[in-house]
């Protein structure tokens, strides 16, 4: 259960939003929509605890996320604008490293399987520097394959740079996660249909 109460966001001198709140039960998808610069990324970063809200608070199962700290971060998977992969490491190396960091257990074999599921068969051992933009995004997204145990996914524009097939696949992955009891927060500018039972939409900005 994730709750946000009266959040306010100030960046520089400008107030992006105020009195934003939501309450998400397990198995809910929250789509955050709004024009560029309306504070979608800031909101997601607040939910992760990367950004301190100017006012308001965020509660996970009734407790403040700042207090929960590591316990909360163990439940969280965040995917930001950056792919968080190292150019000089291969896809497999990147994936194994990020899973060890997240406290999970990935093996060479499972990492290879995940990458080929994400359409990167044959590219697993190349340094990601030589991959295309979309392929790099896929390497970044491939960590989702190991994160079904995380009860909260925060995905900032996951569909950027992906082709139609990959978009479909990520949408299904998200739907699967939501329907098996996870909470997913998502921003996107593309019209993507994520087939889930429970969804909420949060509008930011004046659009």
């Amino acid at each position: 259960m994730l709750e946000a109460v009266n959040l306010e966001c100030v960046r520089g001198e400008r107030r992006l939003f105020r009195d934003v709140g939501f309450a998400l039960a397990e198995g809910t998808l929250l789509e955050v929509v709004g024009p560029n610069g309306s504070g979608k990324t800031s909101l997601l970063r607040m939910v992760c605890g990367l950004l301190m809200p100017a006012a308001g608070e965020i509660l996970w199962r009734g407790q403040g996320i700042r207090r929960l700290a590591e316990e909360y971060r163990g439940q969280l998977t965040y995917l930001g604008h950056h792919n968080a992969i190292k150019d000089d490491l291969s896809g497999v190396e990147n994936l194994l490293f990020s899973e060890t960091m997240a406290g999970g257990e990935a093996t060479q074999k499972s990492a290879r399987e995940a990458l080929s599921r994400f359409g990167l068969a044959g590219f697993e051992d190349l340094p990601t520097r030589v991959l295309s933009q979309g392929q790099k995004r896929r390497v970044g997204l491939a960590r989702l394959a190991f994160r079904a145990r995380c009860r909260l996914w925060v995905l900032d524009e996951p569909f950027v740079a992906l082709d139609v097939k990959a978009v479909r696949m990520i949408a299904d992955l998200v739907a699967n996660q939501v329907d098996s009891g996870g909470i997913v927060l998502l921003t996107t500018h593309q019209e993507v249909d994520v087939p889930v039972r429970n969804r909420q939409t949060l509008r930011l900005g004046h659009a």
Binding site: H82, K86, T100, M101
Partner: protein, 224 residues
């Protein structure tokens, strides 16, 4: 258990990256070698003078080389988003910062320690003084890395951060310089380096304890 694995994985990853980017790593070492080697050429070949300035020159060069390397500590992880993931990992951030500092020292500090005696020969230093030079650098350069990490974390993502980090950490480097060079000087003049080395050791213990957590706090602020 997971934290230990994460620590090891991070050290291993940073060493691997350093191996694949050797040019970056060599910059620090080459800078150190050049600065130390230029002094005998500039000052002239009087052995007495060279022996006298040796501890100071080597230590100042090591200090500047460490400062030069600081820019690389967090900046690439910051740029590609891996730093964000580290902050969000369910591991104590201070521990992860510690792993980064360990790897950073192995790549940019340890080579200085190993090459210093070779450079010291140019200054006609005695064997005993060379030994103490290595020892003082081995204790002192980790302190420089630890203190520097706090500065690097605080100035991450700022324009002109390189200059700012120098201004920030230089005052804190000075005691290390005084006791590091002092130790070698004392060994050369035969008064015993023990006291200086003990103080350096004390600096190391204190900075080992506080610096990773302070740097972790700095990173959280810089990422906002």
């Amino acid at each position: 258990m997971g934290s230990v694995d994460a620590f090891k994985a991070l050290v291993r990853r940073d060493l691997l990256l350093a191996m694949r980017r050797r040019a970056d790593v060599l910059t620090t070492l080459i800078f150190f070698v050049i600065v130390v080697s230029l002094f005998p050429l500039g000052v002239g070949p009087e052995l007495e003078t060279l022996r006298e300035i040796a501890p100071g020159v080597v230590w100042v060069a090591a200090l500047l080389a460490s400062m030069l390397a600081l820019g690389r500590l967090f900046s690439s992880d910051y740029a590609d988003g891996t730093l964000e993931q580290m902050v969000l990992a369910p591991q104590p951030l201070g521990l992860l910062v510690g792993a980064k500092i360990v790897a950073h020292w192995l790549v940019s500090g340890l080579p200085l320690v190993l090459i210093a005696p070779v450079l010291g020969i140019q200054y006609d230093m005695s064997w005993e003084a060379l030994g103490i030079l290595m020892l003082s650098l081995a204790i002192g350069t980790p302190v420089l890395g630890l203190i520097g990490a706090v500065g690097a974390a605080l100035t991450l993502g700022l324009r002109g951060g390189g200059v700012l980090v120098s201004l920030l950490v230089l005052p804190l480097y000075i005691p290390v310089l005084i006791f590091g060079a002092g130790a070698v000087d004392a060994a050369a003049t035969g008064t015993g380096a023990g006291a200086h080395l003990s103080l350096l050791g004390a600096f190391l213990a204190v900075s080992l304890f506080f610096a990773p957590w302070a740097a972790a706090l700095g990173l959280r602020i810089s990422l906002e």
